[in-house]
Symmetry: C2
Subunit: 199 residues, 2 copies
DNA sequence: GTCTATAATTCGATAGAC
DNA sequence: GTCTATCGAATTATAGAC
């Protein structure tokens, strides 16, 4: 059944996000999914196959939203750096915020996909490579005259802000004891302003 | 013997950094350390005890260097934001660069300690809390007039740059195919400049 | 497609000799 | 302090009934 497969993907995504690839167990996943070990073998194959399936489903939606927003901005004859930054930040931030608990999971998974050195995460980059190239090109248009290296560094810095924000949400909130809810527009705005000056 | 204990700490640090807490195995550690399982039990206790020992040894040196450099800057009557940023960035960056392979390990461990949601990493924050408070206070002096929230956000952004830089070194280098060596002064300078504008 | 049962490893921890 | 041997539990993966 289709539903079992999707259910497994959802639960597996959560477990991989929270516990990492090594820390997640198939038995923990099938227990939460209310099914059995064999169902994973049937639908996906090995543990690593399951992980790659999760990764595939995860990366596409956000990246395509980012690229779509960027495309719209590129139509404008007067391309603003600020709008390029918004195109990059808004989709993942809105996703993380609007989906509630599910958004937290996706945030953790995103962070892990960018910071885990484990070999299983090596394939992650191919899902993001095109997006990165497009945004760097947009930076070159919005803010010409810098070196290739400059653009790469600044792209990495821009990425750092959101990766750490999403990954460290819980630690930060627990520490400063702010409300459990957060304002996505304020966060996006702070990131954009910080980056805009930095560029 | 003292040497066995230190050796175990070194190897364990590497394994935890690369594989995470769940992914690291005591047998993998003792194999690389050329000893046996019982030696871990004797010197540290459980796997988690070993991890906490690694964490303890890891956090202190860098933090104390940062605080010491900050202390020096605070003597100056004309406190420059740029110098506060330097006090924060230089110690971990120099460490990561000067120690070669060992520096890469420490970088990964640092990244993991800041981004892992696993409960074993919860105790990490107490090692860094004081350092964070001191630097935020320094920011207030160097750049007065902002709200508490402003300082916290900017501290987080500042931290993000170095956490992601150190954690993602390998992915980034592999991608841009630059030299395997990197210039710590250039990296520090780029981070400082980016932050200085952002503040 | 779903499930139970189980094979084959591997892991953390401990007992006990030296 | 060091090491071997081993226990009990947990893991991935698979075989085979329904």
């Amino acid at each position: 059944m289709k539903k079992t497969r999707d259910q497994l993907l959802d639960i597996a995504e959560r477990h991989f996000a929270i516990y990492g690839f090594a820390g997640a167990t198939l038995r923990g996943i099938i227990k939460d999914a209310g099914t059995n070990v064999a169902s994973i073998a049937y639908h996906f194959g090995t543990k690593e196959d399951l992980f790659q399936a999760v990764l595939e489903r995860f990366a596409k939606p956000v990246v395509s939203q980012q690229l779509s927003k960027l495309e719209t901005e590129l139509q404008s004859k007067n391309l603003k750096l600020r709008n390029v930054l918004l195109a990059f930040y808004e989709p993942p931030m809105k996703m993380a915020h609007s989906l509630g608990k599910k958004g937290e999971i996706l945030s953790l998974f995103l962070g892990r996909s960018q910071t885990e050195p484990e070999p299983v995460f090596n394939e992650v980059d191919k899902h993001y490579a095109d997006c990165r190239d497009q945004f760097i090109k947009a930076f070159e248009r919005a803010l010409p005259g810098l070196t290739k290296e400059d653009y790469h560094w600044r792209f990495e810095f821009m990425l750092s802000l959101i990766v750490c924000f999403l990954t460290r949400q819980k630690q930060i909130r627990g520490r400063y004891e702010t409300r459990t809810d957060w304002n996505p527009d304020e966060a996006i705005n702070r990131m954009i302003s910080f980056c805009e000056s930095g560029f």
